[in-house]
Symmetry: C2
Subunit: 336 residues, 2 copies
Amino acid sequence: MSVAGEAGPGDAVTLGELGEAGILGDIFAALTTTERVLVGPGDDTALLATSGPVLATTDAMVRGRDWLDEWSSARDVGAKVVVQNLADLAAMGGVGTGLLVTLIAPGTLPARWARELTGGIAEVSAATGVPVIGGDLSSSDGAVAVSVTALGELPGGRAVLRSGAAPGADLAVSGSLGRSAAGLEVLRRSDADWWPPQEYAEVAAGWVAYHCRPDPDLSQGPRAADSGALAMLDVSDGLVRDAGRIATASSVRVDLDEEVLAGSAGVYEPVLGARTALDCVLSGGEEHSLLAAFPAGEAPRGWTVVGTIAETGAAGPGVWWRGERATGGGWDHFGG
Amino acid sequence: MSVAGEAGPGDAVTLGELGEAGILGDIFAALTTTERVLVGPGDDTALLATSGPVLATTDAMVRGRDWLDEWSSARDVGAKVVVQNLADLAAMGGVGTGLLVTLIAPGTLPARWARELTGGIAEVSAATGVPVIGGDLSSSDGAVAVSVTALGELPGGRAVLRSGAAPGADLAVSGSLGRSAAGLEVLRRSDADWWPPQEYAEVAAGWVAYHCRPDPDLSQGPRAADSGALAMLDVSDGLVRDAGRIATASSVRVDLDEEVLAGSAGVYEPVLGARTALDCVLSGGEEHSLLAAFPAGEAPRGWTVVGTIAETGAAGPGVWWRGERATGGGWDHFGG
C-alpha cells in the first residue's frame, strides 16, 4: 500500500495539474484486488463474480457538512465513508464484495489530499478484504464530495430487514452508543477553548478518534443473521430515530430500557455532563453499531439489550422512553 | 409515472422544508421496480437477484461543470446521467439491472427541481426496464451533483473489454459522432446571439436536444458482443481519445478513415463551418455511441466502419489521422 500520508516532492501538485488519468493511476495503484474481480478499474465497467443475490448501497460525504478539514484528515474521510457503506451491508447480515468510489473536487485541490483520501479507503479495503472495483472523478467549482457504492453478499443466505421485529423480542446493540456524538461534542467544545478534565483526556481523545474514523465490529452483522436476528439496521442517525425505523417498518412499539441506557450515558457524563451524555446515547448518529431485534433472550453474547419490542397501542408504531413517546433527535440531512 | 414537470401547489417548497424522508418518499414513489429486486429502496441496502457476474460502473454530473441550468432542465440531467451509466454497461456487451442514485444539493434547492430530476431518471428507467434500487441524499453548501451507479449483467455471457483489438480488424461506430458536441457548440454560440441559418434550425435543435439528453441505441452493445466484437467502449470523451484507449489497451495502432469521417462532419459543416464540424466528429464527447473493433468485414449492419486496426510501429500504440499521430482533443475533467 502506498504511504499516502508522507510528504514528498509532489506535495504542491493539484488535481488540475495531475490530470484525470494521472489521478486515477495514482489512486488505483494504491489498491488491492481479489480473485472475484473479473474486470477491475480501467475498462468501461467492473465485472464481479457473484455467488447469489447482490447487496447494493450508496452513501456520500460532503466537505463542510459531513466533515470539516480542521477536524478530519483526508485519510479519516476515506476510511469513514467506506465504513459507513460496509455498515449498511452488515446491517442486512452481509459482507462487502466491491466498492465504487466517486470523488467530486475542484482542480485546485491538492493531489496530496486525494492520495490521502485513497490511503484511508485502501486501509479499510485491505482490512476488510473488500476491493475497490471502479470509480469516477468529476470536477467541481469548489465543493468536495466523496460518494461510495458498496456491493456485497449474504454469507448466511438470509437478508435481515427492518420489518421483521415482533412483540416480545429484545432489541439489542452490537457495540457502543453515543461514542461518535461524544467525540463530536468534544471537538465542538474545543473550538470554544474547552478541554476535557485531564484525567479524561485520553478517553475523550478516543471518542474523537471514533467520530473521525468509526471502527464498529461489522462481523456482528452476519453473526446476528446466523443467530436469528428478526430485524436489523446500523445506528447512523441516532438510537431513537433508528429504533423508530424498525418500529415503523415492523409495526411495533419499542420500549427503551432506561436503566441500561443511563448506564451507557454514565461513560460520557463526567466529561460532558448528564444531559449531553444522555443525548449522545439516545440521539447520537454515525455510530454504526448494529441495532437488532432477537427472540427474547437470544441476543448473541457481547450484545447489549437496550429495549423490548411490544404490540403497538392506539398510538401506533414508535419508540417509548420513560413512558413517553420519544420524538426527534438524530440527524436529518435536510433538517425536516 | 408521476408528471413531475407540471406545476403544482408545492412549487415553492425547498428540499430543506420537505426533509430527507419527504424527499425520498417523493422520489421513490415515481419509480417502478422489477421482479429481480428482492429488496428495494427503504432498507439498509437493496438486494438484487443475479444470473451471473455483475457489471458495475459509476458516473456523476456536477452543476456548472457537466451541465448549466440555462441549457439543461432537471429532467434532461436525470435522463443523461442514467444514459451515461447504461452506455458504460452496453460498452461491455451488457444491460442494466439496477441503478443507485445520489443527489448532493443545498437545502435551498427547490423540491420541484429534484422531482423533475427524478422524472428524467424515471423516464429512462421505465424505457429501459432498469429499476432504481437505492440512493442517498446529502446536503451541500450550494453545489448540486448527481452520482449514479449502474449494475448490470451480460446477456451473452461475454464481456467485451478494451484490450481485445487485433491488427486487421475494423473499427466501427454504432451511431452518430459529434452530434452532442455540435449541439453544445450551437448552445455556446447562441449565448453570443448567433443562430443557425433558418433552413438548419430544426436539425440544429436536434443536436441541442441530443446534447442535453443523448439517446444512443444501447441495444447495440449486446448485439456487438454477439457479433464477435473484439474490443469496445462508448464514445464519452471524443473519438480520438476513446479510440486511443482501445489502441493503448490492445497495444495496436488505429488508422482513422479520413473519407468516412469527413462525410460525418459534412452534416455539421453548413451550420458550424468545416473546422468545427470536423472537431465535433473527431473530438466531440458525451456521444455515447459505441465504438468497437470487429474482425474485418464483420461489423454488424448499421454500424459505420471509421478506421482499421494495425500493428504498432516504432511509435507505439496510438491513433493516426491523415498519416500523423492524432493527439489531444476531447474532454478531461481535470484538464491534464
